[in-house]
Amino acid sequence: MRETSTLNKEEMVTAKTSVSVLFAGDSGDGMQLTGTQFANTVAVYGSDLNTFPNFPSEIRPPAGTVAGVSGFQLQFGTSSVYTPGAKFDVMIAMNAAALKANLKNLHYGGIIITDTDGFDAKNLKLSGYGEENNPLLDGTLKDYTVFQIPVVSLTRKALAETGLSTKNIDRCKNMFVLGVLYWLYSLPLETTVETLKTKFAKKLDLAEANIKAVTAGYNFGDETEMFSQHGRFTVAPADKKPGVYRRVTGNEASAVGLAAAAKKAGLELFLGSYPITPASEILQTLAGLKKWGVKTFQAEDEIAGVLTSIGAAYGGALAATNTSGPGLALKSEGLGLAVILEIPLVIINVMRGGPSTGLPTKPEQSDLLMAMYGRHGDAPMPVIAAKSPVDCFYAAYEAAKIAVEYMTPVLCLTDGYLALSSEPMLVPSPDELASITPVFSPVRNADDPPYLPYKRDDRAVRPWGKPGTPGLEHRIGGLEKQHETGNVSHDPENHALMTRLRAEKVARVADIIPELTIDNGPENGDLLVLGWGSTYGAIKKAVEQVIEGGCSVAHAHLRYINPFPKNLGELMGKYKKVLIPENNCGQLLSMIRDKFLIEPVGFSKVEGLPFNEMEIEAKITDILKEL
């Protein structure tokens, strides 16, 4: 965060390149909605941004307590934004508990905007500060810039004339605060006003009240003396590629990626799925895409989730299933069947903290080795990983392309962090998307030679024989199959051959995936930071920082984990050291050691939290010292 102050004629406006904001309040205070409004506004305004919600782990924890605090974090800026921010610059605290829960993550000297009405005796007690210890008064916040606003009171005053009940009026307090924030960051109200009109199209009084509240908040900023010392801020729009944008979370992007792949391939999309945190929104999003012919099947369990998908894939659909760790474990056997059947199937696994039920609402990257090896027998399948919310779209899309074109299940890894984070996505035009070409065997006549469902092409890929097609009638299953005919075979050499061919086919995917490129930094040098998945933003930021500090450090990020890009070994060889940060105990590290017999530095964080850039920067600095 770098800033330049200019003194305006009338007011002081400080320009900033990026700002991280946390909206925090009680679960009932509508913080997710408020944050989303702010996000939409800055997006339309032209900023780059990244958001992350932080729900309490219970559905409705006791109001006013720290357990009940709901947060929505967002970073927006002029240059590319990759994370919601390691710490925030500004924090909205609607009550004492919200302050207590989040203060530790506010930058030293950061801004706090509080609703003083949320710091009454009851709130202080519930928050754990204690009735006697009001942090707004006792010096706790001396290192921060604190704006104390009696939000509830001001909202009531502003809406006194609406005739609404106090309960309904109080529900508008979040809009008041949002208005204040718009003023503070010199942002327009239009987007929010429009949204409120649409949302409350059938309850005009509520629409009006909310609009009044956000306007009142804005005007309060204008009129109060409170901000005169600090003035306002601006964050110039980002220099973004022109085009149409939408905001997506990782889970939405995954869902749309699958649906888009199906459309592009000319296939019907079928998703067999069982709800599980944090993967359910993929099912939920696709359930809403019936207009695009998407069929979702909410199965009785994860096993049925994957097996219904296998059935649909046998039937000629683009089939997918999504889940998180415990569900992936249950799907293991089914995935083995998909491997030996050699049918296309996309599995999206949204990783969360394990083992077992573990930390179901927290992200982790600890399912990588299960994705690679969690099937009995030698049962290889391609594994790819998404690095950002938007990238979830492309990862799902590519998974589908590989699945269909290589007749194989493909495992696509995202995690609970990507799943819920959002960022703007430049909407691609249909033509920009890579082609996806299923190869269905054509009709055969009675006098054609018999159909060979396991006759492979030169990439070792077998054809797809769609039921309903005359002449392709064939019967396959989980038993080892004879080369070409697909009939059951117990022949020893055939088993060795088929095992080799299945592995070879997957290995050959390396022929069509791009070589790994350096995301940032020199082509060779002291240190390569090799990441995969959701660590992208944090590594990106950290490496930017150390490069700016003059270090010889580069960043490369793996999308393809099985097979690895062909040049991975060579590329790693160009640096003195390789650092692999992971939210697990070193799973990619194991794979790299095994495959390349080199000794990278592993960096594990297994806390149910993503890395932040500072941690990675510190680790890089440590390593460079020792080089």
């Binding site: 590629k241 039937g315 909407v427 009638e473």
Partner: protein
């Protein structure tokens, strides 16, 4: 493309793989009647898919010259459900065993039945795990000695018909492997029923559970131990049809029709649409060898109900959303809310 091929015969449904069942296995008869029924139904080989799990009986798909998938143990119904949902126009048949469908596959069983996908389920019940060499199954009788129950089975067995009704089944029938013609007709009724049709077959496994159903198929006993259900007809049995079943309140009692005070009109008339009657019939389940109050074991169609299938309901929803046209790829990519940067 108009199809000019003639109506197919059972032979056309015979694949080039030799069945690998033991000599005398009841599975052969089922295979034959299945092929007969398919031919009778005028099906084409390319529009049929036979799906199965794992077990002796689950080898079925290999022997039918249609499309087929031999899946993994217990999951046949899940696989078939996905296939049928994706491709409602196909004729999907499921071959499964008492172990496959009711032990490891029990969950898919009850859920498939309640969803009522239009599947034809052929459940080979031999009251044993055949393929794995003779362990007891969830339909094995209490006391049966097997390799895993050397002191006799202690688990109370599943009553397939009762379970199916309890799970919301819309078509339930039972047949004996030896009753070829009867089976063929029931298969056809099953196929014609729109919804999940379950046909439980009492299938003898001469190797590991020989004679499990002898009480119902032995020439001398059959007439007294079995009851063939016919729609609209009274429940009569016995070698000369001299016994009947009447209801005393809720209690079914056997009456002697040679007793002139009793007329056929007093008997229970079979009505396959009557859910309560089907439930009572499903409980004609005691063992002829040990039960004092034995009622004959019913064969035929217990119950048929008309209920929308899962895939029809889903298709209707999809069609409704597409009333004004299907969504385009472009609309999909844009979503509901966008902004433009110039």
């Amino acid at each position: 493309m108009t199809d000019t091929r003639a109506q197919l015969t059972a032979k056309d449904f015979t694949s080039n793989q030799e069945p690998k069942w033991c000599p005398g296995c009841g599975d052969f008869a089922v295979l034959q009647q299945l092929k007969n029924a398919m031919a009778d139904l005028g099906l084409k080989t390319e529009e049929v898919v036979v799906v199965s799990g794992i077990g002796c009986s689950s080898r079925l798909p290999y022997y039918v010259a249609t499309y087929g998938v031999h899946g993994i143990h217990g999951r046949a119904l899940a696989m078939a459900s996905g296939l049928k949902t994706a491709r409602p126009e196909l004729s999907v048949w499921v071959g499964t065993g008492d172990g496959d469908a009711l032990s490891i596959g029990g969950n898919h069983y009850i859920h498939t039945v309640r969803r009522n996908l239009d599947l034809n389920v052929i459940l080979f019940n031999n009251e044993i795990y055949g393929l794995t060499k003779g362990q007891y199954s969830p339909t094995s009788k209490v006391g049966l000695r097997t390799v895993t129950s050397p002191n006799g089975v202690v688990d109370h067995p599943i009553n397939t018909v009762a379970l199916t009704l309890g799970a919301g089944g819309t078509f339930v029938a039972r047949v004996m492997d030896r009753d070829g013609k009867f089976m063929r007709e029931i298969f056809k009724r099953a196929a014609e029923h729109r919804g999940t049709s379950v046909v439980e077959i009492y299938q003898n496994c001469p190797i590991f559970n020989d004679g499990a159903f002898d009480a119902f198929s032995d020439k001398d006993r059959k007439a007294d131990t079995t009851l063939y259900l016919e729609q609209g007809n009274p429940l009569v049995f016995g070698n000369e049809g001299q016994k009947g079943i009447r209801l005393d309140g809720f209690t079914p009692v056997i009456v002697d029709l040679s007793d002139t005070t009793i007329s056929k009109d007093d008997l229970w008339i079979h009505d396959e649409k009557d859910f309560i009657k089907a439930n009572i019939l499903s409980r004609f389940f005691d063992d002829p060898d040990t039960s004092a109050t034995f009622l004959p074991r019913p064969f035929g169609i217990f119950y048929v109900e008309d209920r929308i299938t899962y895939e029809d309901a889903l298709t209707a929803q999809i069609e409704k959303t597409q009333e004004n046209g299907e969504g385009t790829l472009e609309e999909l990519l844009r979503g509901t809310s966008t902004w433009t940067i110039n």
